[in-house]
């Protein structure tokens, strides 16, 4: 019998050879499988990452997060900010040979505007754009529903598709864009392979191929990068970051995040309708401790409602420093010296944050009950109407928000406008301040960046003062790369992108 074991082991060893992969192939492992190959039919960060090398948009972000030209060469708006004229790059072709021109831009936007198609990623465009037309083959004119100064940001997150490839849902399987990589293969459950587009109009990237893999098992990501079976893992769970930091073959990539984590307080729930109580909860929150204990310092305590990567972020907002005495005094003034009970709805994998808050807020006698929910139920609960939330005792929700377009309007509008009360938007605590609504409207339409920034700063201060949420922290995007890999950077929100 020992001979049998030995033979088996020998058999295993004989088949062994160095487990490496070709160096001109870049292998990236993520936590989620791509949902689709159609850039308009999803809203997921890690699907965006897979499609980014294939597709391009009219504008894009550089690594300093400035908006720069991509398939557009220049753009300008009418003085009222409602009509935008965009000049297109000549001589560009899609991977299927179709020329890129005004018709392809119109086709891209029209399919998003077509409600019958029910594309999951159409919200942003539908909210802003009324219609698109061509004035010549290389010029398109966008007519917006309302003035929108951050329109070039929206253009940066809208991938232009080949109209010839968009038939019978073909794009969901076989993407066709103008990017530096062509789609080669999607083996469901295994990988997506992309090969270099040798006819690319821009700077040719180094790797001949990119292979995207995925796993839901964080421990596997950690082992895969150490074993050299993948070149990059994204996102890297903070619990593995410290250990990998000391590995000489691996380097960590840290990105400025646009994601803001918060607890939205249901302002229709009696104790939380009192701003003093909401401020008390803010003062009773030890954010520095939260970031240290829960994120291993891979994050930053939140002071204002915009993350540092978002345009018009104001570092001057002071927020609420940890001050238990002040918190208790505010509770006393509001008549809740003995506290009150409240529920927090939270995703299962973020329950640790709620547990930390439960301990912190118990010091001002607030008795927190945590409702741990998995993603399907969570989405249903948090987007409940005021009546549904009252019936379900959803007193607060711990969640986060990150705008892919990195503009203040897309970060503040859905969370704090009165018309964004859930289920219509993501104002989950039914906060309402008409003055703020007016300010947000005027800032969104303001084409002067200086006055716009001043208005947004004022808006951030009002939100901070009204405390409709307990702002917790700005997370840090974290990825790990093999040391010989360059030319990758983390776009705020977490998708790993090739440097252009």
């Amino acid at each position: 019998m020992p001979r049998l074991c030995f033979a088996f082991l020998l058999l295993a060893l004989l088949g062994c050879r160095p487990l490496t992969h070709p160096k001109d192939e870049l292998i990236i492992m993520q936590t989620e499988a791509p949902r689709t190959m159609d850039p308009a039919d999803h809203t997921e960060t890690y699907t965006t990452a897979v499609l980014n090398p294939i597709y391009e948009s009219l504008t894009c972000f550089d690594q300093q997060l400035n908006i720069v030209p991509q398939l557009a060469t220049q753009w300008h708006s009418s003085p009222d900010g409602i009509t935008w004229t965009v000049n297109l790059r000549p001589g560009v072709r899609f991977h299927d040979g179709t020329p890129f021109n005004a018709q392809s831009v119109i086709a891209t936007f029209n399919r998003l505007l077509d409600t019958k198609r029910g594309l999951a990623g159409a919200s942003n465009v539908r909210r802003a754009v009324l219609s698109v037309e061509a004035s010549n083959p290389l010029t398109v004119i966008f007519h917006l529903k309302a003035p929108f100064a951050a329109f070039p940001h929206l253009l940066a997150i809208t991938s232009i598709i080949s109209p010839a490839a968009d038939h019978d849902g073909a794009l969901s399987l076989h993407p066709v864009g103008t990017g530096p990589y062509r789609f080669a293969e999607w083996k469901t459950g295994e990988y997506v392979r992309e090969v270099r587009n040798e006819n690319y109009w821009g700077r040719m990237p180094a790797p001949a191929e990119i292979k995207w893999m995925w796993t839901t098992e964080p421990a596997l990501m950690n082992m895969a990068i150490q074993a050299g079976e993948v070149d990059a893992v994204n996102p890297l769970p903070p619990m593995f970051a410290d250990a990998l930091q000391h590995n000489t073959k691996i380097r960590l990539l840290k990105g400025k995040s646009s994601a803001v984590f918060w607890v939205a307080l249901n302002t229709h729930y009696k104790p939380l309708s009192d701003v003093r109580v909401r401020r008390a909860l803010n003062y009773a929150t030890d954010r520095i401790n939260l970031v240290r204990s829960q994120l291993r310092n891979y994050g930053q305590p939140a002071a204002g409602p915009l993350g540092p990567a978002t345009a018009d972020y104001s570092p001057d907002i002071q927020g609420y420093p940890f001050d238990l005495a002040k918190a208790q005094s505010l509770m006393n003034q509001a008549g809740y010296s003995n506290g009150f009970p409240m529920n927090i709805a939270v995703l299962e994998n973020q329950a640790n944050f709620a547990e930390a808050l439960q301990a912190m807020w118990s010091k001002i006698h607030v008795q927190v009950t945590i409702q741990k929910l998995e993603s399907g139920t969570f989405a249903q609960v948090i987007f409940g109407s005021p009546e549904q939330k009252a019936a379900a005792h959803t007193d607060s929700v711990l969640a986060s928000w990150s705008s892919a377009s990195l503009d203040a309007e897309r970060q503040l509008g859905p969370l704090y406008r009165t018309r964004s009360w859930s289920p219509a938007g993501a104002n989950l605590g039914f906060y309402s301040n008409p003055h703020l609504d007016t300010l947000l409207d005027s800032a969104a339409a303001d084409l002067d960046p200086i006055t716009q920034q001043a208005t947004y700063k004022q808006a951030q201060q009002i939100i901070s003062d009204d405390a409709p949420q307990v702002l917790l922290f700005y997370s840090m995007d974290l990825a790990a790369l093999r040391r010989d890999i360059s030319d990758l950077w983390l776009f705020p929100g977490g998708d790993l992108e090739l440097a252009k």
């Binding site: 809203t43 409600t115 029910g118 919200s123 139920t377 989405a379």
Partner: protein, 306 residues
């Protein structure tokens, strides 16, 4: 025999029909809104509603079920809510990987389980028997994902002998199939030992020994064949458990099989995929149970086709 066969085969579509109704109702009773998950947290309500309409979830339950059943009868299990791809095709792509892994694991489990079980019975009460049975209890008790992670870290990361994940070559089978085989091998070994111990004290075994047969002929031809009846039943039951175990093993080893597809489907409330995988799994379990029934009848004519 023909009527027995007909009865058994007739039961298959009835079981599948009942399972389809059960699973169709059960997944819809799960809390959570697949349309919202599909549209994303940042989608407005109008987009969520158009996605819901596109997926057909705004239709009454009976219409949804009838539509599902009609299509299923034509081999169409619907489209995945998440990827919009035909579920039947997704399962067809993944199934060979799961079958290959479970077959490899099961072969290992049977080989080691039977061998060690027979040896433990022959050497009953010795240190070898004790060591084997302690190992068998440990093998059946330790969570296979823990074993998997330990083995991956040691053999793939530290030593680099075998691939860590995926199903790229035959070497990719080594770690997952051994891990998955551990628990059923332990159960089969214990079962075989117990069954063999009962048999080897029977009179006919003594007779076989008395007429001068070699120990191999006594144990393998006379004892093992008779000991196999409960073992085969247990193997059949274990195969169903193995399919369940593959869900975890496939996730840990990033194996592109049906188990991992199921985990993702549950995570994203992908009703169509959950239904499809469940139906296919039930079909396999029913077929395997049928095969076990026939195998038991073949091994023991006394219980043949009653």
């Amino acid at each position: 025999m023909n009527s027995y066969l007909a009865r058994k085969l007739l039961a298959v579509p009835i079981i599948l029909l009942l399972t389809s109704l059960l699973i169709f109702s059960a997944v819809r009773l799960l809390p959570g809104d697949p349309a919202r998950l599909m549209a994303g947290m940042q989608a407005d309500q109008a987009t969520v509603e158009t996605v819901r309409h596109r997926l057909g979830f705004d239709q009454p339950f009976t219409i949804q079920y009838t539509r599902f059943l009609t299509r299923a009868l034509h081999g169409d299990l619907g489209n995945s809510i998440r990827s919009q791809q035909p579920v039947a095709r997704e399962i067809a792509q993944r199934l060979p990987y799961t079958i290959a892994l479970t077959t490899a694991s099961f072969s290992i489990a049977i080989l080691f389980g039977l061998t060690f079980g027979v040896l433990a019975a022959i050497y009953r009460g010795t240190w070898f028997d004790n060591a084997l049975m302690v190992s068998a209890i440990s093998g059946a008790s330790v969570a296979n994902f823990w074993i998997a992670l330990m083995a991956m870290n040691f053999f793939a990361v530290k030593l680099g002998w075998v691939p860590l994940m995926g199903a790229a070559s035959w070497r990719s089978y080594i770690l997952p199939s051994l891990t998955l085989a551990l628990a059923p091998a332990a159960v089969i070994a214990r079962m075989t030992r117990g069954s063999m111990l009962e048999i080897i004290h029977q009179d006919y075994i003594r007779t076989a020994r008395a007429k001068g047969l070699s120990p191999a002929a006594v144990y393998l031809k006379h004892a093992l064949r008779n000991a196999l009846v409960p073992i085969v039943t247990s193997i059949g039951l274990n195969f169903a458990a193995l399919l369940g175990g593959a869900v975890i093993t496939e996730t840990v080893f990033n194996w592109p099989g049906v188990g991992r597809l199921m985990i993702d489907a549950v995570r994203y409330r992908d009703y169509a995929t959950i239904q499809g995988i469940t139906l296919v799994t039930v079909f396999f379990v029913v077929v395997i149970n049928l095969l076990v029934d026939f195998a038991v009848g073949f091994l023991n004519p006394r219980i043949r086709f009653n």
